[in-house]
Symmetry: C2
Subunit: 76 residues, 2 copies
Protein backbone atom coordinates (compact mmCIF):
# COMPACT_ATOMS: atom_id res chain seq x y z
CA UNK A 1 0.00 0.00 0.00
CA UNK A 2 1.36 3.37 -0.99
CA UNK A 3 2.22 5.89 1.72
CA UNK A 4 1.37 9.56 1.49
CA UNK A 5 3.82 12.21 2.64
CA UNK A 6 2.89 15.78 3.47
CA UNK A 7 4.33 18.73 5.34
CA UNK A 8 2.03 20.41 7.86
CA UNK A 9 2.27 23.26 10.33
CA UNK A 10 1.13 22.62 13.90
CA UNK A 11 1.31 25.38 16.49
CA UNK A 12 4.02 27.22 14.60
CA UNK A 13 6.27 24.25 13.86
CA UNK A 14 6.63 22.24 10.66
CA UNK A 15 6.15 18.46 10.67
CA UNK A 16 6.55 15.77 8.05
CA UNK A 17 3.62 13.37 8.18
CA UNK A 18 3.72 9.92 6.60
CA UNK A 19 0.69 7.67 6.55
CA UNK A 20 -1.53 5.23 4.72
CA UNK A 21 -4.55 7.54 5.03
CA UNK A 22 -5.53 10.07 2.39
CA UNK A 23 -3.80 13.45 2.23
CA UNK A 24 -7.17 15.06 3.13
CA UNK A 25 -7.46 12.92 6.28
CA UNK A 26 -3.87 13.68 7.31
CA UNK A 27 -4.46 17.43 6.83
CA UNK A 28 -7.62 17.19 8.95
CA UNK A 29 -5.67 15.42 11.72
CA UNK A 30 -2.95 18.10 11.73
CA UNK A 31 -5.54 20.89 11.70
CA UNK A 32 -7.40 19.26 14.60
CA UNK A 33 -4.25 19.01 16.74
CA UNK A 34 -3.35 22.64 15.95
CA UNK A 35 -6.89 23.85 16.81
CA UNK A 36 -7.02 21.88 20.07
CA UNK A 37 -3.64 23.24 21.20
CA UNK A 38 -4.83 26.81 20.49
CA UNK A 39 -8.12 26.21 22.32
CA UNK A 40 -6.26 24.85 25.36
CA UNK A 41 -3.92 27.85 25.28
CA UNK A 42 -6.79 30.34 25.23
CA UNK A 43 -8.35 28.63 28.26
CA UNK A 44 -5.01 28.16 30.06
CA UNK A 45 -2.65 30.97 28.99
CA UNK A 46 0.06 29.88 31.44
CA UNK A 47 0.66 26.52 29.69
CA UNK A 48 3.78 26.23 27.54
CA UNK A 49 4.00 24.44 24.19
CA UNK A 50 5.03 21.07 25.58
CA UNK A 51 2.28 21.10 28.19
CA UNK A 52 -0.27 22.02 25.48
CA UNK A 53 0.94 19.22 23.24
CA UNK A 54 1.04 16.63 26.05
CA UNK A 55 -2.47 17.56 27.23
CA UNK A 56 -3.76 17.42 23.65
CA UNK A 57 -2.22 13.93 23.40
CA UNK A 58 -3.81 12.97 26.74
CA UNK A 59 -7.28 14.08 25.57
CA UNK A 60 -6.96 12.27 22.25
CA UNK A 61 -5.66 9.02 23.83
CA UNK A 62 -8.54 9.23 26.31
CA UNK A 63 -11.03 9.49 23.42
CA UNK A 64 -9.25 6.72 21.54
CA UNK A 65 -9.43 4.28 24.48
CA UNK A 66 -13.12 5.08 25.16
CA UNK A 67 -14.01 4.62 21.46
CA UNK A 68 -12.10 1.31 21.29
CA UNK A 69 -14.08 0.11 24.32
CA UNK A 70 -17.37 1.19 22.73
CA UNK A 71 -16.47 -0.58 19.48
CA UNK A 72 -15.54 -3.77 21.33
CA UNK A 73 -18.95 -3.79 23.03
CA UNK A 74 -20.81 -3.13 19.76
CA UNK A 75 -18.97 -5.97 18.04
CA UNK A 76 -19.63 -8.48 20.85
CA UNK B 1 -21.32 13.67 38.07
CA UNK B 2 -18.28 13.76 40.28
CA UNK B 3 -14.92 14.58 38.77
CA UNK B 4 -11.73 12.74 39.63
CA UNK B 5 -8.46 14.58 40.08
CA UNK B 6 -5.03 12.97 39.94
CA UNK B 7 -1.43 13.98 39.47
CA UNK B 8 0.54 12.03 36.87
CA UNK B 9 4.03 12.11 35.44
CA UNK B 10 4.40 12.16 31.66
CA UNK B 11 7.84 12.25 30.05
CA UNK B 12 9.41 13.76 33.15
CA UNK B 13 6.83 16.47 33.81
CA UNK B 14 3.97 16.51 36.31
CA UNK B 15 0.39 17.13 35.16
CA UNK B 16 -2.88 17.54 37.00
CA UNK B 17 -5.59 15.52 35.29
CA UNK B 18 -9.30 16.14 35.87
CA UNK B 19 -11.95 13.92 34.36
CA UNK B 20 -15.21 12.06 34.66
CA UNK B 21 -13.52 8.73 33.96
CA UNK B 22 -12.21 6.44 36.69
CA UNK B 23 -8.82 7.08 38.27
CA UNK B 24 -7.65 3.76 36.75
CA UNK B 25 -8.66 4.88 33.26
CA UNK B 26 -6.96 8.26 33.70
CA UNK B 27 -3.74 6.56 34.90
CA UNK B 28 -3.84 4.26 31.88
CA UNK B 29 -4.21 7.26 29.54
CA UNK B 30 -1.23 9.06 31.13
CA UNK B 31 0.87 5.88 31.01
CA UNK B 32 -0.03 5.35 27.34
CA UNK B 33 1.03 8.89 26.37
CA UNK B 34 4.28 8.53 28.32
CA UNK B 35 5.04 5.17 26.68
CA UNK B 36 4.27 6.40 23.17
CA UNK B 37 6.51 9.45 23.59
CA UNK B 38 9.37 7.21 24.77
CA UNK B 39 8.82 4.79 21.88
CA UNK B 40 8.89 7.68 19.37
CA UNK B 41 12.08 9.01 21.00
CA UNK B 42 13.84 5.65 20.74
CA UNK B 43 12.96 5.46 17.03
CA UNK B 44 13.73 9.16 16.36
CA UNK B 45 16.41 10.29 18.83
CA UNK B 46 16.70 13.73 17.23
CA UNK B 47 13.12 14.76 18.14
CA UNK B 48 12.69 17.16 21.06
CA UNK B 49 9.98 16.98 23.72
CA UNK B 50 7.48 19.21 21.93
CA UNK B 51 7.90 17.33 18.66
CA UNK B 52 7.40 14.02 20.50
CA UNK B 53 4.27 15.32 22.23
CA UNK B 54 2.81 16.83 19.03
CA UNK B 55 3.44 13.64 17.04
CA UNK B 56 1.89 11.56 19.84
CA UNK B 57 -1.15 13.88 19.69
CA UNK B 58 -1.23 13.52 15.88
CA UNK B 59 -1.21 9.72 16.08
CA UNK B 60 -3.93 9.64 18.75
CA UNK B 61 -6.18 12.14 16.91
CA UNK B 62 -5.70 10.06 13.76
CA UNK B 63 -6.86 6.94 15.63
CA UNK B 64 -9.73 8.87 17.21
CA UNK B 65 -11.06 10.12 13.85
CA UNK B 66 -10.76 6.66 12.25
CA UNK B 67 -12.57 5.01 15.19
CA UNK B 68 -15.34 7.64 15.12
CA UNK B 69 -15.83 6.92 11.42
CA UNK B 70 -15.94 3.16 12.07
CA UNK B 71 -18.48 3.65 14.87
CA UNK B 72 -20.66 5.86 12.65
CA UNK B 73 -20.77 3.16 10.00
CA UNK B 74 -21.58 0.42 12.53
CA UNK B 75 -24.43 2.46 13.97
CA UNK B 76 -25.96 3.27 10.56
Amino acid sequence: MEKNRITVEIYGNTYNMVGLESVEHMRLVAKTVDRRMRELKSKNPSLDSIQLAVLTAVNAVNEQLLLEEELRKLKD
